[in-house]
Symmetry: C2
DNA sequence: TTTTTTAGTGAACAGGTGTTGACAAAAAGG
DNA sequence: CCTTTTTGTCAACACCTGTTCACTAAAAAA
C-alpha cells in the first residue's frame, strides 16, 4: 500500500520529453545563441527536466543537433516540392515561387535561424550536412532548368553555374530576412521585392548568355 | 624638426601581450570554434599568459572581438581601395578585380573566417557591425557603377539592387572558398572561375535591364 | 495479476569558467 | 638616483559544465 503523500514532486512526464528537448533547443537558438554554444543543462532546464534525463533520448548535444537539422530540412524539402508543383512556365512563375518560399521562411523562422547559424558556426559535421543539402537543391534546380526549351542547349556546367547563382542569392536574401524583426512586415516586403528583381535580372542575363569558354577538358 | 616628442604619450613597446591575445584568438577561431564560443582562459592559455593578464588589455571577450573585427575590416577596406585603383573600365576589369579580391581572401583566411563565423553566430553587436560594413561596400559599389556611362541612367534603387546582387554573390563565393582546404588550389581555382562567370552573367543581365516598376516615388 | 522495460529523479564527481584582490617586477618619468 | 605607473603572476571564490551512478515511478509485456 502506497501512502499517497499529496503533493511531492510530480514525475509523470511521459514520452513527450524528447520533443520538449528539441523545442527547447530551438527556442534557445532563436532568442539567444547559436546551437553550438548551448549547454546540455541549459536545454534540459528550459525543457523542464533534470539534466540526466537528456541521455534517455540523445547520446549528446551533437546528436540533438543532427536531429534538429534533419527535421529542418525535411520540412524544407517538402515545401520545395510544393513550389515545384505549382510551377508553371509562365510570367508569374518567378513571383509565385519567390512568394511561396519566403512565406515559408516566415512561418519557420526558428528552423531557418538554426540552420543559418550553423552554416558557418557549427561543427564540421553540421556544416557538411547543411552544404550537402544546399548542393542538392542546386542540382535539382539545374535539372529543372534543363527542362525548359530555351535553356536546354546550355552545357550542364553552365546550368549548374546559373543554379548556383540563384541559390546563392536566395540564401543571402533569406539571411537578410531572418535578421529582420518578426513583425517588420514592411522590411520583409522590401526583401521580397528585391528578391524578385534580382532573380529577374539574373534570368535576363541567362537569356543573353553564351558559353564562351569551353573550360575544362 | 622631426625630433622626439618629449610628450606624455608613452608608448614604448607596450603591446606585445595585447597582440599575442589577438593572434591567439584568431588562431583558435581558425582551427577550432567560432569566436563566440571561445573562453577567456582558453585565449590567455594559447597566448602564453595567465588569465588575469587579459584584463590589462581588454575589458572582456567581446571587447577583444570588436577589436579583431576592426582589424579585419581595416585591412579589407585597404584592399578594396587597391582594387578600385587598378580598376579600368575595360574588358579585363572584372577578371582582374575578382582575382585581386580572392587572392586577398587567400592571404587573409584567418580574418575572413573570423568575420564569416560571426556574421550569423555572433552577438547582435557584432552582427550589426559586420552588416553595416557590408552595406557600406554595397553603397560604394553602387556609386562606382553610377559613374559608368552605360549605367548612369538607372535609378539609384536599381543600382543599389544590382550592387547588392553582386555583393551577395561575392559573399557566398567567399564563404565557399573558406570552406576549402588552404592548399586545395584546384578547388580555389574552380571557385574563381565560377565567380567570374557568375559576375559576367549578372552584368549581362544589367545591360538588358529596364526598370519596369517605378516603385516608391 | 506479476514481471520487465522504459523514462524520469537527485546526489556527487572532476574539471572548466569569469572575476576579485593583493602583490611583485619592470619600465617610464622625473 | 627615486617614484610612479604599467603589466604581469598567484591564490581563491562561486558558479556552471558534462557525465556517472543508484534509485524509483510509470508503462508495457507476460
Amino acid at each position: 500500500m502506497t501512502r499517497e503523500t499529496p503533493s511531492k514532486t510530480r514525475k509523470p512526464k511521459r514520452g513527450q520529453t524528447r520533443e520538449a528537448l528539441m523545442a527547447a533547443a530551438l527556442d534557445l537558438v532563436v532568442k539567444k545563441a547559436p546551437f553550438s554554444s548551448l549547454s546540455l543543462r541549459e536545454v534540459t532546464k528550459r525543457a523542464g527536466v533534470v539534466p540526466t534525463a537528456f541521455y534517455r533520448h540523445f547520446s549528446d548535444m551533437s546528436a540533438l543537433g543532427l536531429t534538429l537539422l534533419d527535421e529542418s530540412f525535411r520540412t524544407l524539402r517538402q515545401m520545395m516540392r510544393q513550389v515545384r508543383q505549382e510551377q508553371r512556365p509562365d510570367e508569374n512563375m518567378l513571383r509565385g515561387s519567390v512568394e511561396t518560399y519566403f512565406n515559408y521562411v516566415g512561418e519557420n523562422r526558428a528552423h531557418f535561424l538554426f540552420v543559418a547559424k550553423e552554416l558557418f558556426g557549427g561543427t564540421p559535421t553540421m556544416r557538411n550536412a547543411i552544404r550537402r543539402e544546399i548542393r542538392m537543391f542546386t542540382n535539382e534546380l539545374a535539372m529543372d532548368m534543363a527542362r525548359f526549351p530555351f535553356l536546354n542547349h546550355f552545357s550542364s556546367e553552365d546550368l549548374q553555374m546559373m543554379a548556383a547563382l540563384v541559390v546563392n542569392n536566395v540564401t543571402a536574401l533569406t539571411q537578410e530576412m531572418l535578421e529582420l524583426e518578426e513583425n517588420d512586415e514592411f522590411g520583409q516586403q522590401q526583401v521580397l521585392i528585391a528578391a524578385e528583381k534580382q532573380l529577374r535580372l539574373i534570368f535576363l542575363g541567362v537569356t543573353q548568355w553564351k558559353s564562351s569558354s569551353p573550360a575544362t577538358s
